[in-house]
Amino acid sequence: MIAKMKLASDSGQLHVSWAPDREKTSGVAASVRGISKRFKKARVLEDVSFDVAEGESLVLLGASGSGKTTILRIIAGLEQPDSGYVILHGKDVTDLPARERGVGVIFQSYALFPRMTVEKNIGYGLRIRHRPRKERRETVDRLIELVQLEQHRKKYPWQLSGGQQQRVAIARTLAYKPQVLLFDEPFGALDAQTRVHLRREIRALLRQVRVPSIFITHDQEEALELGDRIAVLNEGHLEQIGTPDEVYNHPETEYVATFLGAANLLLGVAHPGHSRNRHSKVAGRKGNETIS
């Protein structure tokens, strides 16, 4: 624990890490090995493999029906793969049920418990683990402070805005020190302005808590901003995985090029002043980065 806290403060970040306490052996927090999945006759995933490093955020980017949600559900243990493995911190968890995996899922609808207040929602993970009351209260206090919901702690989910609900959902998973955080279309239910704002908030929050995370999105702009690396999925197979710069500037397949390129075109239309970007790929890239 002490070593971990040192590590966090050394890198100029926050004092407390909400990542699980364990020896950093390989630096790989989660990996998916050769996952395939069929639903009836439809092939949803085909031999998908990738790693998420400690403290890294990976974005799974793909159109609807590309299988990205299925990957997330398989990692969380809510779905079983037909073949392949899910490995969390070096341990094969493929056959473990969801509740024994220690994975934090932030659902698109947040799935907060409607009959519990903010603090009860956040404390739920520790309550079902039968932790002593004192520990529960301290953890909840620290998390509520972390997500800045001090004045809302006695409220019920329906009394909160979408962004606040999302912060509760994140805090609720952090309470039990998840091995990895999974975000399922985290901004899907929000309007465009809130979305941009929340994206920054989450990114800042993740830098503080240093928990490896996987985001799922179909929004290219979101992927470029949130991901340390981006994995582009198309009809169940991985087209390319790399840093935003790599997938954006050096697309390996035509699909990646067109899928990410479309965002540029949309940007050009939205901001007429940037129209020159369309002529120069380099300028377009720069434009995108300044937006983020």
Binding site: L78, P97, A98, V105, F113, Y124
Partner: protein, 153 residues
């Protein structure tokens, strides 16, 4: 099958237990009809969230599912109660209609009416009518509260 566990003198027929049993069978669909739709509209992701947080199925049911069903369960209980109080057919079949022991209010009304004591029958009938009126007023005025339970999932 179940009869094996009871000796001859432990007859369940013509006892209050028989009435309870019969009314459970009769009113069960009523309660089921109220609770099932709420159960169906509950989002699966709540239970999935609970599972990923680390809860067992039982913990999920106790802490997440049951509280969300509270309104429906209260409604179902009130409807069931109203129905059971007035239940006649199944009760008279199994109760034996023993005055003071297994005679329910509707059976009493029926007996007194047959004996020609209309006043006694009327008195109990009014009590029953008031009771059902009270129950349905509760259901009506608590509607907002009960529906809130169902929709906020």
């Amino acid at each position: 099958m179940i009869g094996r566990f009871f000796s001859e003198d432990q007859q369940i027929m013509f006892t209050p237990y028989a009435i309870i049993l019969a009314n459970i069978f009769v009113t069960f669909p009523l309660a089921f009809g109220v609770i099932k739709p709420v159960f169906d509209t509950m989002s699966r992701s709540l239970e999935e969230a609970s599972a990923t947080i680390g809860a067992t199925r039982w913990q999920t049911f106790w802490h997440v599912t049951l509280p969300s069903l509270r309104g429906a369960i209260v409604t179902g209980a009130l409807l069931t109660f109203a129905r059971a109080v007035g239940e006649f057919g199944s009760t008279i079949l199994v109760s034996g209609n023993l005055a003071g022991r297994t005679q329910t209010a509707p059976l009493y009304i029926f007996a007194k009416f047959n004996e020609g004591q209309i006043e006694a029958a009327n008195a109990i009938a009014i009590v029953l009518a008031l009771l059902s009126f009270v129950i349905f007023s509760v259901l009506f005025f608590a509607r907002d509260w009960l529906e809130f339970e169902a929709q906020d999932v």
